[in-house]
Symmetry: C2
Subunit: 223 residues, 2 copies
Amino acid sequence: MNRERKFRLGVLGSGRGSNFVAIADACVAGKIPAEVAIVLSDIAEAGILERARERKISAQHIAPGKFRTKLDETAERAYIDALQKAEVDLVVLAGFMRILKGEFLRTFAQRVVNIHPALLPAFPGLEAWKQALDYGVKVTGCTVHFVDQGVDTGPIIAQQTVPVLAEDTPETLHARIQEAEREMYRAVIGGLARGQITVRGRTVFWKKVEQRMCVDGHLGLNS
Amino acid sequence: MNRERKFRLGVLGSGRGSNFVAIADACVAGKIPAEVAIVLSDIAEAGILERARERKISAQHIAPGKFRTKLDETAERAYIDALQKAEVDLVVLAGFMRILKGEFLRTFAQRVVNIHPALLPAFPGLEAWKQALDYGVKVTGCTVHFVDQGVDTGPIIAQQTVPVLAEDTPETLHARIQEAEREMYRAVIGGLARGQITVRGRTVFWKKVEQRMCVDGHLGLNS
């Protein structure tokens, strides 16, 4: 085995791929000690595939099958095969709009991460920024977590707070959260690639040097 | 009517009264333009009554009646009467371990506030700091909200974030939250006493000058 082999990421997304772009560019810049090995999407025309191809990264559309919110058995197998063939060490969900289930999660046990646009366990599910605004919270944020069988329920790796302002619309709040997401996701994937992150029960531990990164206002990217 | 009349607070608590002490002392120091008119407790030997008497503030034990988590009808009436007799403008819950219901909340409509040791809607109910630690969140905090018919569901006035640290026990986390609570509660009661706070639907607005106080890490007390 080649000791110089880089940590390999498989990125799944259904949308424009703004988080993917931040991750891929941070890899190239050396801020994340990893490389994106493959990008998969359930949407043939998703921007994330285009962004990947621009960067000469392998990008595939794999049709999700007959269900609306998850992958059918054939599609699940195809996603697993593509990721295994690409020898990914970590599966990164970046706006992937399908729920991942049993066989996928067993194959990549504790190697699937997601980012959610709220401070979980508050506001799981869709349009979390809108839920937060409707509820009237003064602080929301984003959460990176390991993916488990539930929806947005897995062990939390990092959270970043984002203020809700009096003049916020869903759009302005969402944009502010997305900015925080990009920075935090890069930091977390860096931590995972460097082996700094361990899980005990529901609690995720960072090695000391990075700990402050995950708990408060300012994520200092490793640069 | 005397225009110089101060804004009057009625404080209800069941415990040591640490939030009450912070509020009372801030009133005396002129940091909150208000005075504590009366302190009521459902527990005869609660420290909060002792702390009030030390400060020459009217303090009464009113037995809660036959229920375990709320006031019975007679007790509810007695609490209302005592607060009305003391001419309070705002009812401040400071560790009061009884749920307030219909008649009380109708009498003091949108004039009852509570502080909760989590970032609501996450972790409502008892021992919220322990719930947060067990869940494995990286950020928690405290919330001041208007009290409505639900448990910890009313419109949110202010929230303050508190980091969860890797070495935290329930006790150390609770202590850190309580420190944030004291500062935030004083700031919010000051805002209410100055008439700076309005509610529209579920959303609470602060007049511009104070707005930054309620949304992020540093509450600047008006001093």
